[in-house]
Symmetry: C2
Amino acid sequence: MIKVKGFKFSGISCGLKKSGKKDLGLISSENICTTHAVFTKNKVVAAPLIIGKEILKKNLVKSIIVNSGNANSCTGKNGIKATNEILKKIAKETNLKPSNYFPSSTGIIGVDLDYKKINKSIPNLVSSLDGKSYRDFAEAITTTDQYQKYSHSKLKIGKNTYNFLGIAKGAGMIHPNMATMLCFFLTDLRINKNVLRSLINEATSNSFNSISVDGEMSTNDTVIALSNGAGGEEILTKNHKCLPKVKSITENIFYTLAKLIVKDGEGATKFCRINVVGAKSERSANQIARKIANSLLFKTALYGSDPNWGRIMSAIGASELNEIKQNKIDISIGNSMVVKKGIASKRKGLVTESRRIMKKSEVEIKINLNIGKHSSFMLTNDIGNNYINFNSFYTT
Amino acid sequence: MIKVKGFKFSGISCGLKKSGKKDLGLISSENICTTHAVFTKNKVVAAPLIIGKEILKKNLVKSIIVNSGNANSCTGKNGIKATNEILKKIAKETNLKPSNYFPSSTGIIGVDLDYKKINKSIPNLVSSLDGKSYRDFAEAITTTDQYQKYSHSKLKIGKNTYNFLGIAKGAGMIHPNMATMLCFFLTDLRINKNVLRSLINEATSNSFNSISVDGEMSTNDTVIALSNGAGGEEILTKNHKCLPKVKSITENIFYTLAKLIVKDGEGATKFCRINVVGAKSERSANQIARKIANSLLFKTALYGSDPNWGRIMSAIGASELNEIKQNKIDISIGNSMVVKKGIASKRKGLVTESRRIMKKSEVEIKINLNIGKHSSFMLTNDIGNNYINFNSFYTT
């Protein structure tokens, strides 16, 4: 049984989803937490993010309240009012302050959030809190997700065992009117604020910021970490001998959740990791990996299991980086080198071999630019007919 | 009958296309031309572009030789050799120098160009030259195009009438292994070199550089203008009273050709112009128009005739421009304002009305940022199941 000391969870239905499925979740800590959050870079931002950013500055967060079914985005003053009313209500119900709660929403954009439905269900939400109900919470935050997403790890420091739990939602930002990427990371290890900041920023950049389903970003994307110290006396500072272990645990949890999101992309049949090595900088390696991951022509070739390396070459060139030397580029599909020094390998049987690799459910593509020592990667999936069907006929 | 004085055309089959369709074209001027060219920004560049750029520096171009069926891209030293052999052969055949010829190729990437097939057909290509055969040439440069693309205009200056002809190919860069954007612009008016440069650069930026089918750019994209002065004594300099008229003619021809390319996007069912107004700069307006035009979620909504303005709002925000004020944004679909000051218009019947507009074969979207006086636009099309089918199962 997964537990994170001092944290309780609940997930219920309040009626925002017409299907009657769970759509309201709560995480509550017994102590005030050390927090750090990363938000969407989209300049159009939902009401809960505007309010949530202010709340974080007060350093009083104990709990998180999340609804699915409505993103409360592009809702103007009504949206701000809705989130504030919810916070007021739950604060009153629990004898806390609104600033003890961090708000979050996911779902349709541009429709007023019916906060009265939420407020009516708050007593039930609060009374359902339980140390074991993390799966109810995980279910309550889903929208177009086909499965719940969580990942857990433990670490023994001294005589105590500390817990780390990540719960996420997102079906690859494929459906931003309905979906968004949210991640809630909880630990009962007390982590110093600055250490937590760098841990979360780094883990986010190597996971959620390295995925591409269709190159879109939502107005609600949020990663938030809560550390409550309920697991013991230990405090993780920047010189603590266990910092590398905690860093590795955090990164593994984030990477696992990011992979689950990419795999859950609607209509996706394949998961693909794109590794770019031999670049002049990590930044340029990432720029190229991103260009390929966002290339519709690459993604359709992936769908069709077509080892179409010309599209990869073209996407590399489209990054417009001046340092690229086209006659130095090597491209491998799995372990099969299809391009050497910018031209097609003419090895016999290569096309059959690379086509067989492309047919697998997980495909790895490696690009060696052979001009430097830096590398980066992106996680992506294919785009096929189901993507089109999901996204063309959604009724506004 | 369209004619441009002093120019002859031919278009024949040399066997590069397995279908036996025309795949080799020639444009030949009686005089040495003033030239200016704009090339792909892709850093992976095909052999004919590498050689063509050097040839242009010599200012000796009289003719253009183009093959379709093979892009001669990602072909290394073999590719350079192939283009040089073709230029040597045609120069010999016509008693000219290789540097009198500008080379161009379009078609599959990464496959060695069988230049011997071309060279064998050069005598036939040259003997087929004719002042009226521009349509044969237009046909010979097509790849996945469903129709030939050309646009013509005339202008009387003094007692002479001067001609302007643009011939293009491209099915929206939808299939870069097979397609590319090429445009050949010919005039019998003598245009000063610097004037020609600015005319072509501006017209390109408002046409071919403002189209997006899938956000891809090919390794072969080329726009080249040839002015031979065969129409009369007039020389168009920067202070010539007819410069505004020639500018307008050039821009109209380029815009017409760009629109024909977007409409010919494989699987495309709709043409869409995205206008961004009220921006702080033309650059930022263009950045936003481009973000929407490249948004797969917008393009699938267009395909499904879904007035899904949340996706437009999200794409605007995804441009990451700091100056955006989400509560000032207005969005119109056709004449129907769906978003006012960042929130949904609640006017009765609006959804039905905007859905009706979205169902048309040409859709105009207007975004007013209401923060400045600058504007820009993009031309795009929808992406539907036929796009996926065309691009997933192409056999490498």
